[in-house]
Amino acid sequence: MNLLNLSPLFFGAGLAGLAVGLYLLQQLRIRYTRVPVPTTLFWAEAVRDAPVRVFRQRFKHWLAWLLAVLICWLLWLGFADLRTDRSETANFYALVLDGSAQNAVGDDFEVSKQQLLNDVRSYPKQQREVYYAGEHNLKLLAYDEETRVLKQRLDDQTPVSARSSVEDQLRLLARDAVNAENQVHAIVYGRTAIPSEVIDDLPENMSVEQRLPDDEDNFSNRGIVALGVGEPLSGAWDKVDVLIRVLRTNADEVTAEDLTITVGDQTISSDELTGVGDSDFLLDDVLADGSELQVSISGEDDLEFDNEASLVLPIRTQIPIYLGNNVPESILPAINADTALIVVPESEAKVAVLGPGDSPSTLPTFHVVDESAQEQAFEIWYVGPQDENSERALDRTIERLGIEHIDATAIAQEIERQITVRLRFGDQRIVSVWLPVVEDEFNFRESISFPLFISKSMRYLADEAPWYAYLAAGRQAIEQSAGTSLADTDALSELAVGTYFVRNATGEFELTDELPGVISLLDKTSTIRSSSENIGSETVATTSPYPLWELITWLMLLALALVVSEWYIYQRRLMP
């Protein structure tokens, strides 16, 4: 036996307080109703032997007091929420409704919703909360909130084209459960697959159960689970290869003819698709001009959300550079080998490459200088205010320029000077290098890091726009080409670091003017519907631990009966 709302001490104090309070109230009832009468002659005589109650006079209305105390005690007991089963009061129930694409098949979502509504009434409001795992995790019903508001809140929710966030919700609950004293039971309503590692990581005082919408699993589906771009095998700088991966479950195999591909307004013939294995298709050398590429699967199946996927192709144009007259011969092969670069007159260039003695340029400049011209071997100028964020970005720039790959010790021994890098802030991007570092007589010129350094320096100086290899719902945006690109990825790196960029729902977005995108579902678990492992699941609600005719109902009925009795006795004038 346990009290849910009150401590035993406070409960006992309340009982005593009510009894004493009512006793005092009985005595203090000295507010008389004023009634004018023709004469008080007879009343004066009548009350001579039955004087009126006055303050602190002998208490004599025991029946009235007893009834009032009993009624108040019953209400107090009801408020205290007496539980006869101690184990139940130690439980907390987190009911999680899956509103992702995984629960959007047929009427699964409606069934899950109804199951939740049926079940939630069974739990005391102090021991349950309801969460919605759709595009975002929402708390639909908080602790102690009235259950009746839930239906209206659920009516506003529909399953969305998003990966399931049930997993995230369970991890949050697990994190909180670690510090909780009671047992936490998470009940997931829906068919979303819960990874076994999530279950394995649960604290000892937490369990997860799943309510499936139905027993039968006739799920039939074909869907796109991957759509991405990468560097073309042809080596063409201004093109990309596109990978399309399609999976199926209880459905016919997907052929190239089943796929419709458009780039901008142009439809790509299925003949241009190359099948790779059972599920992959490759589209070679697609012009990287920033168009939107859309892929869709023809035919009907149970899940629509994965029948279409899109991405915005990157914009890859050659970087025009101007070569000064005194550029060392040693770096020209690296420049010529980079198909992303094209040599143009200074007026058309975006980047200037200058040697010792060349006139300074207003363009971002790769400058080879004499040792006497600067103190450090490498000086890198960064544009922007000097603050913590820009310093961090500058550090990353150095890293991406590949300077860390240089055998600085060997160079230092050869030129008998210390090789260091200096970071500077200015109005223009500049990469300035000692001449001896790039000359043929040193091994840096011969290393594989050298062309990488030159190429990355050119892209840094040109401030090339970044792009994404793919954008999938619920997954972190990853910089293009699996990190092998030579682009300046400052902005992308910023995005990739933070989890806020993870968007669970599909759709177009525009983070900045330079970074438009389309997020697709691309979710394998949604498309082929894997089932949860190591989780007890059932399709019907469990028997309520709190039946309708629980103790509180009887307490209220008893209190009502006492009120009726009091009224009857009062009407019979046996009680004032």
Binding site: Y32, P38, T39, T40, L41, W43, E45, D49, R573
Partner: protein, 301 residues
Amino acid sequence: MARLTFDELFDSEFLSALEVFDLRIKRFIRQGRHGEQLSHDRGFGQEFKDFKAYVPGDDLRAVNWSIYQRLGRLFVHVFEEYQDLPVYLLVDLSKSMFLEDPPRIVAGLRTALALGAIAAGQHDIVSLFSFSDNLDMQTKPISSKGQLIILARQMAELDELDRTNLSDVLDELSHQKLRRGLLVIVSDFFDPSGIEAIDDAIRKVRHKILLIQLTKEEDADPELNPEIVGDLRLVDCELDDAIDVTIEPQVIREYKRIYGTFNEALIELADSLGSGLVQIDCEKDILDQLSLMFQTRNLLV
């Protein structure tokens, strides 16, 4: 509602229904003019009753000259004589008569007017007095049905006065030189001085007395009043005196006993005076109650 208007009082239907009733007293003292009240004195009425020897002062028109011829002595005729009866209507105008809804004064005035109408119909002289703590005589007594309108108008002008002090009023009345007649006291008799004081005072009055007690059912059984529940501060409307009461069965029982004693005392008073006591329930039809009162068509006091 404080009082009745003239139109409400002077209800021809009500007044015509009263014509069948007679009001008579057992004995009457010769003093006034001829009327319909039977006097114990023999006089010069219409019906012959006896002869008596002539004494100086007798009306010579009554001398039986035939007997004088035969016997040589004077005898005069003696007839049954009917005289008029002074009826004094004494109406209580204290605050208690105006308090409730309907106020007791309504039934009181209707009853008084009814009795006045009956008396005037018998050519008796009807005078209206009102009182609370003082006696107040209304002018112009009436002696015929044709003058009933005057009585009704006087009644319609009556207004609420102060507290009841019937004993003092009766004392004052006893000192007034009025022809002996019938004094009709219309009141609730809730006199703070008590019945004993009234008893003492009323015995000084030389008139025949008819007591009209205006009652309500809740006087005897206060539980009929829905307001009489719980803890009450009962305010006496006349004295502005308050008494705190917790309504309980014991208190109600005691109240009923005391009220019963009061009523018994009033009845005993009427009996000891040889007068009549009529209880009029203010919430019931007056005519019905008067019909019961005049069951044998006439009320003998």
